[in-house]
């Protein structure tokens, strides 16, 4: 018998398992056990394990028991004084009868499609279950389900699914409702038994999954709002943008780029200040700006000041534009039907560098600027102020002495068709744009004209454009603009050699990385990620009359 136990142990220990199911059923007797192959056959004592098949009957005597083992790991343990029979062992249906006595079952559920145990009063369809079945001599059936589910039908057509720790009694006159067993009952399971633990863990995981999804969604929301990106150099950048309203006439857009790995913050702002109150809905501001240029009627509001400021918290570059009040100007030189239109009386653009290195440069702190600031470039245009009845355009750059000096000066009479067609009248041409130096200009190029180079560091077709100006005092200013996808990949762009920088603005739907450096920044640079539309606004604001198409 010990040997039999050793053989059976792996079966008893087996969990529900699907591996290589055959239809062999083995019966292992213990004590006085008899079996026969069918109702007509004679009972024979069984002392060793035997295969049993459909039609077989097993009966146990006093102090005896028998195990019935299935190839899928299922097992029946028959108690003493039990009569049990095998009705069917097919793949579609396996049927057994407990005519009287006790049966303790652990059913994996894979032996057959339908697994049933019949008693004189009940049919128990088993799903994957541990249960005890008692059948009295009068056919009355009592079943305790330890774990799993059993579907029980009585002779009256009633049906109940009985679950773990439930008990049902089925008599010849029908079933009583299943009852939950008392915790004091010997058939009650332990509080933290494996199946209960598995169910409890699964339910808790379902509830916690909601919080997990929320955590993920928070992260996704940050991405949707563009707050987390990779720059063109592979660095993780957090981006935040804020809209501030210092007064009802202006707004300020603040943008921050933080690279935690490098411990650096780059930030900047865009300020737009207007003559009068602007709407709460800032999106209407674009219409106010458009109304400043070439309006047939006097604008009721217009921009007074525009500023873009970028800094790495030590060095900075600031571009400012001051606008004069709109005045009525005769633009008939642009076409007979154009007539008088309103246009800013002056536009004054400045580019100002600052920082500890800038403070050491010649010319720092002049022109009303702070001691660590220097104006590197200035472009002004005015109407009627410098030249009566005409626009005067003046570009100034830092010269060899570190002071702003005139690079180009042009006048334009907007009422004169010939002058407009010629692009105005050049007064000073130190950059040689008008076919050579103006004869009266003694400062041509040698001490004023900066050398400007344009390169495409990532090659043609990539949105990576860098302009470097080397001024005559040796100072440099380099501005690199990159359009980057969120993974830091530099965007492919339809490259227009005629307007390389413009093609960046036209794309307009990716992060713009703006890297600015100067040899006055002592080896540092400014590197911010911003919405490219900021650049677009700057471009609109600095557009001059000679580049506008008047409609």
């Amino acid at each position: 018998m010990k040997a039999l136990h050793l053989v059976l142990l792996p079966l008893l220990a087996a969990q529900p398992c699907l591996g290589a199911v055959t239809q062999d059923i083995i019966m292992a007797p213990e004590g006085k056990v008899e079996a026969r192959t069918g109702p007509a056959a004679a009972w024979v004592p069984v002392e060793n394990k035997v295969r049993i098949a459909a039609g077989a009957e097993i009966r146990t005597g006093n102090d005896s028991k028998a195990g019935v083992f299935f190839p899928d790991g299922s097992r029946f343990m028959l108690g003493n004084n039990t009569l049990f029979s095998v009705d069917a062992t097919g793949k579609k249906k396996a049927g057994f009868q407990l005519k009287f006595g006790r049966l303790k079952a652990a059913v994996a559920g894979y032996f057959s499609s339908r697994f049933e145990v019949r008693t004189p009063s009940a049919v128990c369809a088993v799903r994957g279950t541990e249960f005890d079945l008692d059948v009295a001599k009068d056919g009355g059936t009592e079943m305790n389900v330890s774990e799993g589910l059993v579907e029980v039908n009585d002779s009256k057509g009633a049906m109940a699914v009985v679950s773990s720790e439930e008990r049902i009694k089925v008599g010849m006159d029908g079933m009583t409702p299943p009852e939950t067993v008392s915790l004091k009952d010997e058939s009650a399971g332990l509080a933290a038994r494996p199946m209960a633990v598995r169910q409890e863990t699964a339910r808790e995981r379902t509830r916690t999954m909601l919080e997990e999804l929320r955590n993920r969604e928070l992260k996704a929301n940050e991405a949707q709002l563009g707050k987390d990106s990779i720059d063109a150099f592979g660095k993780r950048v957090r981006i935040e943008e804020y809209l501030l309203r210092p007064s009802n006439k202006e707004f300020k857009l603040l943008f921050l780029s933080r690279r935690a790995e490098e411990g650096r913050l780059d930030w900047g702002h865009l300020i737009e200040r207007f003559q009068n109150k602007i709407p709460d809905d800032i999106s209407q501001v674009g219409g106010i700006i458009n109304g400043m240029y070439f309006s047939k009627t006097a604008p009721v509001n217009w921009m007074k000041y525009f500023e873009v400021y970028l800094t790495n918290t030590i060095d900075s570059v600031k571009e400012t534009i001051d606008f004069g009040n709109p005045v009525s100007i005769d633009f008939s030189g642009y076409g007979a039907g154009v007539g008088s239109r309103y246009y800013p009386s002056s536009i004054d653009y400045k580019q100002i560098l600052s920082g500890p290195g800038v403070a050491l440069a010649v010319g720092a702190g002049t022109g009303g600027l702070n001691a660590d600031e220097r104006a590197q470039f200035q472009q002004t245009q005015d109407y009627n102020s410098s030249t009566a009845g005409q626009f005067t355009f003046t570009q100034k750059v830092v010269n060899a002495s570190g002071a702003l000096a005139v690079l180009e000066k042009t006048t334009l009479n907007p009422a004169d068709l010939a002058d407009v067609s010629a692009g105005g009248t050049n007064i000073t041409d130190n950059a040689g744009l008008w076919g050579g130096p103006y004869p009266s200009d003694p400062d041509y190029s040698a001490t004023i004209n900066p050398v400007t180079t344009e390169v495409y560091p990532s090659g043609p077709g990539k949105a990576d454009f860098m302009v470097t100006s080397t001024y005559e005092d040796g100072s440099t200013l380099s501005s690199r603009k990159l359009l980057v996808l969120n993974d830091g990949k530099i965007m492919d762009t339809t490259f227009n050699p005629a307007d390389p920088a413009g093609s960046f603005v036209k794309e307009g739907s990716f992060n713009l990385e703006l890297a600015v450096t100067s040899n006055l920044f002592q080896g540092r640079n400014i590197d911010v990620l911003i919405a490219p539309e900021i650049l677009s606004q700057q471009k609109s604001a600095t557009t001059t009359a000679d580049s506008f198409a008047i409609r």
Partner: protein, 407 residues
């Protein structure tokens, strides 16, 4: 805590059963690859070590200690759409304890506590423990369970649960709060992602006749952001804090059919899950992009429906188990507007349609050891064409293969 969990998980199978401690769990190890559109991630993998240590003191009381450690070497699909690189590693460690107290009549009370730590590496030079979205979550909960019957035929178990989650993003502070003073920035709050969640849920399971099972799950989650201020249409941050209310209702039904007499007998189980969820939030959004400045109230509010049929086929003779799943979901934002490709706002509300199909095959190599193959395809479509920072329209797929050991 991470070491404690790993050590305890590794030791779990060997903790002496003689002490009355039941140990169950599993170890999964997988390798595979993700594809997002035309981009493919490097071959990577994930591992899950999951263990429950249960101690019953009697039929009425017991203790469950759960520990879980998950390493993921790639991004989930919903994270891929957020841009950034395909590279991401995450390490998720959690441990919890639950006391089970059962009473006569099928009643149980189950208080619990737990803590979770999740770490992310999102660029290759980012060190563990320095991820922007690293977080700790402290949990507590109480479940009242009743095991009873619905009529004569059907066992019915239902639970009312309260769960509390205190989530703290240890390294995430708004930039404005860090630098605001020197920049004269507004004050959106500092720990803007930290949340307190009180979740009340109802879970009901019915074992119906005919090998059918029905499940109803309903939850209301009140999520407070104690340090995230509400923004108004002028871009100003108010003193009131963000507060969300999330409601979810899921209905599931599954049925085991008769075995199919093919390929050595196949046991099919078919299921269908339907879900409805919505979010109400008092938070708004101001798009500060100068080209299309736009204020959108109730920016986060949405209604979501989902339908997910699934099927499982168990091949009795070989032991192979095949699981197929499909899910279709529609999320409609109630106030968020869809944008054109250039960012211009349309008048249409943003809608997102997502569908996914999954396949999993498990083949038993030995007792409690399965070889597993997983494949998934997912697609998302939206009327939002603005994808500067987030992909709303994409396809992704993945395959993984590995082993699962249950103990």
């Amino acid at each position: 805590m991470k070491r404690l969990i790993i050590v305890s998980l590794l030791c779990a199978p060997w903790i002496a059963d003689a002490k009355g401690v039941e140990v169950t769990g599993k170890l999964d190890l997988y390798g595979g690859q993700y594809f997002f559109g035309s981009r493919s991630g490097a071959f990577n993998g994930y591992g899950i070590l999951d263990a429950q240590l249960a101690k019953s003191y009697s039929t009425s009381s017991g203790l469950i200690v759960s520990a879980r450690s998950v390493y993921t070497g790639f991004k989930q699909v919903n994270e891929l759409s957020g841009g950034g690189t395909l590279f991401q590693q995450s390490l998720d460690d959690s441990i919890g304890a639950k006391w089970i107290k059962r009473y006569e009549g099928g009643y149980s009370l189950k208080p619990r506590i737990g803590v979770k730590n999740e770490l992310f590496r999102e660029t290759k030079d980012e060190k563990w423990g320095e991820g922007l979205y690293d977080f700790n979550r402290y949990e507590a909960g109480l479940t009242l369970e009743r095991k009873t019957r619905l009529g004569l035929s059907t066992p019915w178990t239902y639970q009312f649960s309260w769960d509390f989650y205190d989530t703290r993003y240890t390294r995430f502070k708004s930039l404005a709060s860090q630098y605001g003073q020197e920049l004269a920035a507004p004050n959106p709050g500092s720990r803007v992602l930290d949340t307190f969640t009180n979740q009340f849920s109802y879970d009901s399971e019915l074992d119906l006749p005919g090998f059918m099972k029905a499940e109803i799950f309903a939850a209301v989650s009140l999520v407070d952001y104690p340090d995230q201020r509400v923004i108004n249409s002028a871009g100003a941050y108010l003193s009131s804090k963000r507060s969300d209310s999330y409601q979810a209702l899921n209905l599931g039904l599954s049925k085991r059919l008769n075995d199919l007499d093919a390929l050595g007998r196949i046991r099919p189980v078919l299921g269908l899950t339907a879900g409805l969820a919505n979010l109400f939030s008092n938070q708004n959004h101001l798009d500060t992009d100068p080209k299309h400045l736009k204020y959108i109230g109730s920016y986060y509010d949405y209604l979501e429906t989902r339908l997910a049929p699934n099927a499982q086929f168990s091949f009795i003779s070989s032991g192979l188990v095949l699981r197929l799943g499909y899910e279709f979901a529609v999320r409609r934002y109630t106030d968020r507007l869809a944008q054109k490709a250039d960012g211009t706002y349309t008048q249409s509300r943003l809608s997102q349609y997502s569908s996914s199909a999954s396949l999993e095959a498990a083949y038993p190599l030995a007792h409690s050891l399965d070889l597993k193959l997983q494949g998934n395809w997912a697609a998302s479509y939206s009327n939002n064409r603005y994808e500067q920072v987030y992909r709303y329209n994409y396809e992704s797929s993945m395959y993984f293969a590995g082993l699962e050991w249950r103990f």
